[in-house]
Symmetry: C2
Subunit: 479 residues, 2 copies
């Protein structure tokens, strides 16, 4: 067919996703829960552009992030990039509007971010983050509150088993300093290797901290080149575990090198423990885990991430940490910050896997269906009456206007109630109101038919127009 | 200072905007109003990516839009672009998911779109659209409902005087066909010229439809090259005005050429008039305006746009129309569609100008303020109690912890209530609750001081910890 050749193939860009109503309706509900909790903790919404000057973003997240930037050029030839997270934009704002955003300042922000990665299942090049960040205090009470927010989000969404893992970068700093490793690049390399612990296992981490290793594909992975003794010290440190936060603190005293750095890191962790206890967060939900590294370079203190125990294969669904130096990239003054991002795509995938996302295909409550030659303006009037009563109403106008098409549309999209209008009804000032869920339930559970009848539930009634809204309301309440 | 040279200048890209809480809090309220109305009319939310294959977008909106595309390349070298509207993505979806999105289908979508334009006041390169689109029926009842939605949005947002201008492309098509102008490119050129009427005036439109003209800067603007007679016919047509929609239809009968095209276009307009009447939309709010052209190429039938009468300089704040051919770009089958987009940036600018955007700097209800050496964990516990009662609470942790800093933070961000906690209060199981608005109102209206006192409003009370939530609630209600 000649027409076909002129057609543009409709396709979604690789690594990007279309979210149809049955995906997006529950997703919006998840967003509302999270943003509601953010507001309850005093975070205010703001928004920064999707595109930033390249120099604003470059080097903020580390080498990995640099490579993942989606870059483009303005018509004026300026190098710019799509934002890879919402945190760097926040740090820029703090520096750019010192008078309007005086610390302390808490904000939340939601929106898409872009990274050039290798797309795969659940791994997108555009994904949505819901961020909170608090600026202006070094007090770890802010970190503790953020951890409480992580817990409250998961609990509110119905997750029964989860773990928020908490660590502080200062512990590892103390370990490395105690071993005489002071160069920043080397410290970062160690962190990157430790970050792979869950993925590659302790034996491979040992090799990568030392001489390096050959991976499964035969490629060499260069090591950090630490001595055997230092490697074992690091491994002793990250192996520390206990069922309680107090237990971890106690054990750390045994493996940390002596000195002020370790003392002060431990004090921070103890303070955090005290704050987490004050917030009533049980040890089984919030755990201290010295092996937690977190990928981004800009963290300086506590770091945290949340994992759903029964959907651990989705990885961490939220995470963050303290970054006391990022603002000083833009400002000749330091503003300590801490923050956390929910990865909405991973979180909803994990919730779906756990059956915690309700299957909601529509938000429509009533479909207005017509029979015979009812003029469109009568349909519109009727729909307007329902909407004036606050009822979410779709007036059916489709390619085919027969009754079967109309009812099968309601069925397919799971609209619970139909209001039927025929020529007779218009003439008599009546409508028929049909409970579309009733039939389904009847079919699903015939044994209960008598009980159903007794309960007085009717699947279709004809009522005077004035009684329509009331009748629809009752049916929706039964639903 | 050596440090300064290493600083990255914090700056927003030209044509882009940072929305701080005092801008974004009311904006979110406007979005909630609009999306709520969309859902009430049966539109379902969905989301498409910000980035599309270049070929998906090219040529859909016309030459102007092609030039305005923000293009980039994927790492794989595919040419892609940032979406310039939300409509093309919707058309792509309909073609791509024929089984999951069976017409009739109504959706809404909200999000940023990008156009490479010349940035200016209120003119951004990234701006936000809130779209509705309905697929699957040629019935203009759908267009009428969309016009009703435009009116309901403006009324709900408190706009008293506005105009939704309505036209149908088919009228101009009939006029041009009647004059023997059948080439699509020429028809489009005429529309583009007519679209400039409000901007350049009727005399310049006359010249541009005919031989062309020299603009103010001395540049030649080529004309469409129509004969004087044809130009006058077009001008007669677009000059038609009346206080009522019926009046416009009546007058059009006099200026339209005879023939089936004009008859059918008029029938469409009459049907639309009947539907608008059924929806109770007064003539003073919804007007037929034959001069309305709308810029985009893809419209095929009714077009509409909304303008705030008392903020007309902001231009149209919402607009759309019927596009029955766009889907056939992607699919060997046609799906008639109609839709409308709210330009959120323009709308909120216009609402702000009209004083209809409430000055809301915060969503926080209570600030927890500490005096003396109260440990952080006590502050956290107190804040948690308030939040457990659903009260949006910020626990103050700032660079300075003295009382003055804390109260001036509350004052600056307009938090209405403070709960004060000192060492004594902790020891006694008490808190002080302070009405931060009371003082302001007292100062603002001293004459009412007695009345205020009589009403029993107190600016600060010390209560037992168990009475805190109740006391805070009462104060917030008085606010």
């Amino acid at each position: 067919m000649p027409d076909d050749e002129r057609l543009v193939q409709p396709r979604t860009l690789r690594g990007f996703q279309d979210l149809l109503p049955q995906d997006f309706i529950p997703r919006k509900a998840v967003i509302a829960v999270i943003e509601g909790i953010y507001e309850k903790y005093g975070y205010l919404p703001l928004d920064t552009p999707a595109v930033e000057h390249l120099e604003t973003l470059l080097g903020t997240g580390g080498e990995e992030t640099n490579k993942e930037l989606f870059t483009l050029e303005t018509p004026e030839g300026e190098p710019v990039a799509l934002r890879y997270d919402l945190t760097v934009g926040f740090a820029r704002l703090l520096a750019q509007y010192p008078d309007r955003l005086k610390p302390p300042f808490r904000r939340y922000a939601s929106g898409p971010v872009w990274r050039v990665n290798k797309p795969g299942p659940g791994r997108f090049r555009q994904f949505t983050q819901l961020d909170i960040d608090a600026a202006g205090s070094e007090n770890v009470a802010l970190d503790a509150e953020i951890i409480a927010i992580m817990c409250e989000i998961l609990t509110t969404l119905g997750v029964e088993r989860y773990e928020v893992r908490v660590n502080t970068r200062r512990l590892m700093d103390a370990v490395l300093e105690g071993c005489g490793i002071l160069e920043q690049d080397r410290q970062k390399h160690v962190l990157r290797v430790v970050d792979k612990l869950a993925k590659v296992g302790v034996d491979n981490v040992r090799l990568e901290l030392g001489p390096g290793r050959i991976d499964e594909s035969g490629d060499p992975i260069p090591g950090v080149g630490l001595t055997r003794q230092v490697v074992e010290k690091i491994l002793d440190f990250i192996a520390v575990q206990s069922d309680t936060r107090a237990g971890v603190v106690e054990m750390l005293r045994g493996v940390l090198p002596p000195g002020e750095a370790a003392e002060s890191a431990l004090r921070e962790l103890e303070e955090l423990a005290e704050d987490l206890n004050a917030l009533g967060l049980p040890d089984r939900y919030v755990k201290f885990d010295p092996s937690l590294a977190r990928g981004l370079d800009y963290y300086t203190g506590p770091v945290f991430e949340g994992v759903l125990t029964d959907a651990a294969e989705f990885g961490s669904v939220m995470g963050g940490g303290r970054y006391n130096q990022l603002v000083s990239r833009f400002l000749d003054q330091n503003i300590p910050c801490t923050g956390m991002a929910v990865g909405l795509d991973r979180l909803t995938s994990a919730l779906t896997f756990l059956g915690l996302i309700p299957a909601l295909k529509t938000t429509v409550q009533v479909l207005v269906v017509t029979m015979g030659k009812v003029p469109a303006c009568e349909t519109l009037k009727l729909a307007a009456e329902l909407r004036a009563a606050g009822i979410r109403t779709e007036a059916f106008f489709g390619p085919k206007m027969n009754l079967k098409s109309q009812l099968s549309h309601a069925d397919r999209t799971q609209i619970p109630v139909a209001v039927l209008l025929g020529e007779d009804e218009v003439a008599r000032g009546q409508v028929s109101v049909k409970d579309l869920m009733a039939g389904k339930k009847e079919r699903a559970d015939i044994a209960d038919h008598a009980a159903y009848r007794q309960a007085g539930r009717v699947s279709q009634v004809t009522v005077a127009r004035q009684a329509m809204v009331e009748t629809v309301r009752k049916m929706l309440e039964q639903g």
